[in-house]
Symmetry: C2
Subunit: 255 residues, 2 copies
DNA sequence: ACGGGCACTGAACGTACGTTTAGATTACTG
DNA sequence: CAGTAATCTAAACGTACGTTCAGTGCCCGT
């Protein structure tokens, strides 16, 4: 009893041909679930709430998706496919500055991005694979950008791409803080994004650290735990592999 | 039946004086809750699971904290206070590069940071206030860095500080992806952090965009939605205020 | 010594959840 | 047009949850 579709018996089943397997109520349920999961999270969303949003019974949700976890898997697949579809034109405008720029141009981008922001924080092989793809793409764009003179060369292009993707996605995950701090709604269309993109571009263009500070920080972090000539970044495939490296006794004071 | 403290009747109540109000079982429950909430999330963690981890009964949790939400509030307060305590020495080493460097030097930093990474993604006035404080601190450090010649000047220092804080916290929230992509565990001590900090320092030092690309991106984002002379960033105090700015009809094509 | 208060427990209560079941209605096939 | 499969529902089931309750033992002031 939430939105429209009050008449449960008189369902508008023939708004599309039902020969299309992935339309009608099934798609309605899936979309409602994506929206709900994105706003409230998976654990805090009940099957009944999704069903009510979709205008169907809770039993039908189970009938179509087997279980609540099946529904989650379907949402994952749908959202990730949607993102992969829109990924093509990515980075065309911002040259690697905005990972999901193409996505936001879609009409109903907000629920998809909100869902993505949710699933990014909890472990999921599917999401990890998508992030790895984004990094791989960014590596490619980065190489091309270097060739065309838009991007500077890097000591470790893959690591640089990974950090930029993490920053981009991190800003998406923290979109509520971005909106409060800068007035930029990263889930919405290109409206207020400039308030985030302009300082980000300044950071990514001019940098913040002066050469002296950069040398200082680099020397600091190269001294501990990371030999300069060592393999600079993982091949973006291992599940959790090289992280940790045991626990060598580190000095207490780093300064 | 999980870890130690199997003997429920024989509780080690006098490991500290119980005249200390905020020690003994109450602190054990709170710490167990911080750890559990950080790993599994609030909604997916049962009061009984927290009680079992702390070696007490579920009823005692309610007795001490009133309700599960009261327990959450106590965890919020404790974690945020811990972070505020360690915040002093922040940015001493990395010059604004690493927001929570001081925190990680603590012995049991991982649960606190994991909890913070969880609560950062869901709306909370308390967490928002903390983030606002971090930005405010960063503004101060940034001004000081400019004076001492470590940091470059900015067209909008507060916006730049906000973006850097968002990136730092975003990397923390996505620590699992950072670990997989770069092999750097941001929750742990200074061990593998270099694998993240080195490319981050390169980005923040030299930048990625060439001057031509920076001018291009800046011009693009200045054209839409953001007049150059306008108030550059919110005063970092309004709860959700200036974000959105209504809904002016934006042009469909942004390129 | 003793009585009040506090920490703490096992058991129970009410509820909301995911899921199952049986049946109704609809759509398609021969 | 009969039969069958698919779609969909209301109701019920079992469980796990947050919380309440009544009671037990221990500590501390007098």
């Amino acid at each position: 009893m939430r939105s429209a579709a009050e008449g449960v018996g008189a369902r508008p089943v023939d708004e599309r041909r039902r020969t299309d397997l992935d339309r009608t109520a099934r798609a309605r349920i899936r979309d409602a679930a994506v929206a709900r999961f994105g706003v409230d999270g998976f654990a805090s969303t009940s099957v009944r709430a999704v069903a009510a949003d979709a205008g169907v019974s809770a039993a039908l949700v189970i009938h179509h998706f087997g279980s609540k976890d099946g529904l989650r898997a379907a949402c994952d697949a749908h959202v990730l496919e949607t993102i992969r579809e829109g990924k093509l034109a990515t980075m065309a405008g911002g040259a690697g500055l905005d990972t999901l720029a193409a996505l936001r141009r879609l009409d109903d981008a907000a629920p998809v991005l909100r869902y993505l922001a949710r699933v990014l924080v909890e472990p999921s092989p599917r999401v990890a694979a998508l992030v790895d793809e984004l990094v791989e793409d960014a590596v490619g764009y980065s190489a091309e950008g270097e060739r065309t003179g838009l991007l500077r060369p890097s000591r470790d292009p893959r690591a640089r791409a990974a950090v930029m993707i993490v920053w981009s996605l991190g800003a998406l995950v923290l979109h509520e803080h971005v909106a409060r701090l800068l007035g930029a709604d990263l889930l919405d269309g290109a409206d207020g994004i400039a308030a985030y993109s302009l300082p980000a571009a300044e950071l990514l263009g001019e940098g913040v650290l002066t050469p002296a500070a950069l040398a200082q920080v680099t020397a600091l972090y190269e001294r501990l735990g990371h030999a300069p000539g060592r393999a600079p970044s993982a091949p973006a495939a291992a599940p959790t592999g090289p992280g940790g490296e045991g626990a060598p006794p580190i000095p207490d004071e780093t300064r």
